[in-house]
């Protein structure tokens, strides 16, 4: 399939069209400086969506990512309050490790006990949120309690883009490399595309799903630190409901919820689409209350579109049997 006809190209065209429409009402929106800040703003969504992509590819879903982000972010903030001089690199390492550990809990329950992922992550989502409350006692950690290097690092501007934006780019490139060039990356596609065939080619389906959850968790942890530092505040309800936006970004990016189909570029574009809508609403004078309905409509349009273009071209033996699925 050539790039022009691909889902990514259509999505890219939709984004360009959207930017054009916004520019007719508010030209300053498409200046490089503003686009860079929109990109930075969308980075956490993009990072989480890339983790979610891997999970959805293996026929699972991770609804605990936003709670994981909030819990890891809160722990990072508390560590920072207790030890303000801890180097940022170490904080990021802690965030990645802790996020991965929380993801591993999901992964183990899915792998070893074969509990449906939606049940596991619904459960851990509420548990993680509750744990934040227990840790913080419901208190907020505010900007003045955090050290300047902790909050300043993601916001430093290098070559016109924030460090957060560069981290997002690095994650996207690493994920692209992982998915396209490593056996592990290919196994995610194989496991999601056809689990039975995957078993007969010697792949361990449960293990691949476990690793997908670990990756998703680690990226959620990373996003947790970036989020807390960027907004310089940590509390229980941070990023509440964000998991749905993450799933929306994946669906819009062309990740099939049935597993096995999707791309890093599509996911990045899906996240960007939502990010642009979110940032454009206030400047074109539409109430931000429209955002929820718009992302809902975008999910429905995207999933309908995916289903149309993704129809298998195999021979249909009995037409009506198709509808039973």
């Amino acid at each position: 399939m050539s790039f022009v006809k691909s889902r990514e190209a259509i999505l890219l065209a939709a984004i360009v069209l959207l930017l054009g429409l916004i520019a007719t009402r508010f030209p300053a929106f498409i200046t490089p400086h503003n686009l860079a800040s929109v990109y930075s703003d969308t980075t956490p969504l993009m990072i989480l969506a890339l983790g979610q992509m891997v999970v959805i590819l293996t026929r699972c879903i991770d609804l605990s990512v936003a709670a994981n982000l909030a819990l890891t972010g809160m722990v990072c903030a508390m560590i920072n309050v207790a030890a303000p001089d801890l180097p940022v690199g170490l904080t990021i390492l802690i965030a990645l490790t802790m996020g991965a550990a929380l993801g591993a809990i999901n992964g183990l329950l899915v792998w070893k006990l074969a509990i449906p992922p939606i049940v596991v992550t619904l459960g851990t989502m509420t548990i993680f949120r509750g744990v934040i409350f227990l840790l913080s006692d419901g208190q907020w950690i505010n900007a003045h309690e955090m050290s300047a290097t902790f909050t300043g690092f993601p916001r430093q501007v290098v070559l016109g883009v924030t460090v957060m934006g560069w981290i997002g780019l690095a994650v996207a490139l690493l994920m692209a490399l992982l998915m396209a060039r490593t056996a592990l990356g290919r196994s995610f596609f194989a496991v999601g595309g056809n689990p039975h065939a995957a078993v007969y080619t010697g792949l361990n389906v449960g293990r691949a799903q476990f690793l997908a959850f670990v990756i998703s968790g680690a990226l959620a942890g990373l996003a947790g630190y970036l989020w807390i530092a960027r907004y310089a505040v940590a509390y229980v309800d941070i990023a509440g409901g964000f998991e749905l936006e993450v799933v929306a970004a994946c669906v819009i990016g062309g990740i099939s919820i049935a597993g096995g189909v999707g791309s890093v570029l599509g996911t990045v574009l899906g996240a960007m689409f939502l990010g642009i809508v979110k940032n454009a609403l206030p400047v074109v004078d539409i109430s931000p209350f429209w955002q929820l309905a718009i992302s809902g409509a975008a999910i429905l349009i995207a999933v309908t579109f995916n289903a149309r273009s993704g129809r298998s071209k195999g021979r249909v033996i009995l037409k009506s049997a198709e509808h039973a699925q």
Partner: protein, 339 residues
């Protein structure tokens, strides 16, 4: 599960020796999920009455039922939907939209009958929207209802913004605040009636058998002459309608509508259904199980509330309950398989 595990040790996976006879009906009943739940419910009840002196009071117990009646109304329809292999995550958002529509009708000066009718019709329409997307376009229900979850609540936010509807007529309070007799609330009566209706429909009618058949094997059900798409459509309509009923009760009880009404309730409904022994993958489950699960969840949250445990900490218990009830039997089976 790896290939080696599935082929090299089949005997390890067998469930013990073949029994000489089937279990007696009373024995099967005694060892069922429902009786286990009932024991848990009674245990929690006893613990609660020891933990707080205020628990064993008819009015307090009556208050406790409000913790689950609205959720359970939706859970009955959701149970059928999940047994049939689908799911609806938009139920809480349907409540928000139905409540908003009721508020608009109220603002326009209509009385209680029109308000209630609006709530129910809005629920039905939302269910129809989900059902059409799933059955006509063949889209996965989990994605569709994640989408409509944002869409429905999003419309409420567009209408209401950060405002609220207040000033419902006083006779509208009947549904959420009224009492049928003594401590038996109107909501509890609606809950009981719906429990009986859904129990009969699922366990005593052809329609109920069709629901199980679809959940176990949709293609097989289709070839057995079951109109799969139509049954699923009806189930989505029922779930929408029940969300409408719950919206009437909840709005009446709160006396106001905000766009954030009932947020997160979809998770509690799904938890209730799964706790009630319904297989999240479809094909099995029962209404009595869901009824007992409703009582268990209501008693847990009410008991913890009496002990001044904050709501968010209760959600830890709900989350642990959800994972625990599924994980423990599987852990037990694994443990027995190795021994």
């Amino acid at each position: 599960m790896s290939l080696a595990e599935t082929t090299s040790a089949p005997e390890a996976r067998a469930r013990g020796p073949v029994p000489d006879r089937l279990r007696a009906p009373w024995e099967a009943k005694l060892k069922s999920w429902e009786s286990l739940l009932l024991v848990v419910a009674i245990g929690i009840f006893i613990l609660n009455s020891f933990a707080s002196p205020y628990f064993l009071n008819a009015w307090n117990l009556s208050d406790a039922t409000f913790n689950f009646t609205e959720k359970a109304m939706i859970a009955f329809a959701m149970a059928l939907l999940i047994i049939a292999g689908e799911i609806d995550l938009s139920v809480a958002s349907i409540i928000a939209l139905a409540s908003t529509a009721m508020g608009l009708v109220m603002e326009a000066g209509f009385g209680t009958p029109a308000i209630v009718a609006t709530g129910l019709v809005t629920g039905l329409l939302c269910g129809a929207f989900n059902g059409v997307l799933v059955t006509r376009l063949g889209l996965p229900s989990i994605v569709v209802t994640i989408g409509t979850m944002s869409l429905f609540r999003g419309i409420s936010y567009i209408v209401l913004g950060d405002g609220a509807f207040r000033g419902y007529p006083s006779d509208f309070a009947f549904f959420g605040q009224g009492y049928a007799f003594w401590v038996i609330s109107v909501e509890l009566v609606i809950f009981a009636v719906l429990a009986v209706i859904y129990g009969v429909v699922l366990h005593r009618t052809n329609f109920g058998r069709a629901v199980y058949a679809i959940g176990n094997n949709p293609t097989g059900a289709l070839f057995s002459g079951i109109r799969v798409a139509r049954v699923k459509m009806i189930l989505f309509l029922l779930t929408g309608l029940m969300s409408g009923v719950a919206a009437v009760c909840l709005t009446s009880r709160l006396g106001s509508t905000r766009p954030s009404i009932a947020s997160g309730m979809e998770l509690e409904v799904v938890t209730m259904v799964v706790l009630g022994g319904v297989n999240i993958l479809g094909g099995s489950g029962s209404i009595p199980g869901v009824v007992i699960a409703a009582f268990v969840m209501g008693l847990v949250t009410f008991g913890l509330g009496l002990l001044n445990v904050p709501g968010i900490v209760m959600s830890i218990f709900i989350g642990l309950l959800l994972i625990g009830v599924i994980a423990l039997p599987r852990l037990w089976a694994k443990f027995r398989g190795r021994a």
